[in-house]
């Protein structure tokens, strides 16, 4: 072994602990139970309530909600929000038996300790924003017709069947084998639009009509990330990696779902 190959091997070994998805420049989809808090709870509670009221004022029965798990400066170009989920206007039963109206959030979260595996988890706005790095929310409200179809789908066996637990933070939305939160949301949206749970048909639709975001990360760094971080996989990518984002899903619905609306919510100054 030459000194150069020894150096490369040592380099790889040295990188292993630091080459998480975060080092590659992404943030996965973790629940607030597994994330550190970056703001005082009262600030998060106030912001989460503002987001709820913004959706309610617009009459949104179902919305797509996005959060920033990392500061913008640490994300690759073209990425802004790091996790998306469905917010569904619901009748919530509290621990003491009262029934109150509010939004329940339907997420695909990475499992704690198993970053290459995800599960479907329902929580609430304050849990959703609990671990954010920046208090900024993206909200995408589909047309009333699409909201109604989504409401009929979310939480059903057909919805569950669209979930692939094999997680990659840069999952390719055009292929099967790996899935992240944005790809899952996109699959559910197209399942509702076309009223099918045939994933092969859904992928065909996405190849034809959906434009993914190119992953703007140095290929060498990406390759090392895929070697040393379980949550980064290139196995479902053929060529240049691309993934779904809140912005690309917003572009898709703005183009094809007349009456859909996208906006951001910031905290009060």
């Amino acid at each position: 072994m030459t000194w150069l190959s020894r150096a490369f091997l040592l380099l790889c070994l040295a990188c292993a602990p630091t080459l998480s998805a975060q080092a590659v420049g992404f943030s996965g989809s973790s629940s607030s139970a597994g994330e550190a808090i970056h703001f005082p709870p009262e600030k998060i509670i106030k912001f989460a309530k503002k987001v709820e009221k913004a959706m309610a004022t617009k009459g949104a029965r179902v919305a797509i909600l996005a959060r920033m798990g990392r500061p913008l400066a640490e994300l690759p170009n073209g990425m802004h929000f790091t996790h998306v989920a469905f917010a569904v206007y619901s009748e919530i039963t509290t621990q003491d038996g009262r029934k109150v109206p509010g939004y329940a959030i339907h997420n695909l979260y990475q499992e704690d300790g198993r970053p290459d595996t995800s599960s479907l988890v329902q929580d609430f706005p304050v849990d959703f924003f609990g671990g954010v790095a920046v208090l900024e929310a993206g909200i995408l409200i589909p047309s009333p017709e699409l909201q109604q179809r989504l409401m009929g789908l979310i939480g059903t066996p057909a919805y569950n069947s669209l979930h692939d637990p094999r997680y990659s933070v840069i999952a390719n939305p055009y292929t099967l084998g790996r899935q992240n939160c944005t790809e899952f949301v996109l699959d559910v949206v197209n399942s509702a639009i076309y009223q099918t749970d045939d994933i092969g048909k859904i992928k065909g639709i996405e190849k034809r009509y959906f434009t993914a975001q190119k992953v703007n990360v140095n290929p060498f760094k990406l390759m090392l990330g895929s070697m040393f971080s379980n949550e980064v996989s290139l196995s479902d990518h053929d060529g240049e990696p691309a993934t779904a984002t809140f912005e690309t899903i917003s572009d898709y619905l703005t183009k094809y779902d007349q009456g859909s609306e996208s906006f951001t919510v910031l905290p009060d100054q």
């Binding site: 990188c15 607030s32 709870p41 109206p101 929580d123 609430f124 509702a192």
Partner: protein, 124 residues
């Protein structure tokens, strides 16, 4: 600059250790910001969910059922039955009622203590 073999290795490793430290800084600064915001260090080092639950400002929920407009829900093909509560008072796009109470998926402390393993990530 002419570096020997061992110096090259030291340089490369040093570069990566430094880049790893840069990523760690974000968390440190955030924790510092939280402490400056008046939270105890115990909260700063715990998870977000636990910090919010410990604040005593959120109510735990045990169930959530979608509230459909007029109770009319069109099911997608292949979908099973959906539990949907009827909200016949408001049509689509009309402002919806939201209270000031904050709801969380975290169980209250007495229930969390009864659980063998506290798994708040599973929601409700």
């Amino acid at each position: 600059m002419n570096l020997g073999k061992s110096n090259w290795i030291t340089f490369i490793l040093g570069t990566f250790v430094a880049s790893g430290s840069a990523f760690a800084d974000a968390g440190t600064q955030s924790e510092q910001a939280v402490r400056q915001g008046g939270l105890s260090s115990a909260h700063a080092s715990g998870s977000a969910a636990h910090a919010i639950a410990a604040s005593g400002q959120a109510t735990s929920a045990i169930a959530a059922v979608p509230l459909a407009s007029g109770g009319v829900v069109s099911a997608a093909a292949g979908a099973g039955s959906t539990a949907v509560a009827k909200d016949s008072t408001r049509a689509a796009n009309q402002p919806l009622e939201i209270g000031d109470e904050t709801i969380t998926a975290m169980p209250p402390p007495d229930q969390a203590l009864r659980n063998k393993a506290d798994k708040p990530k599973n929601g409700i």
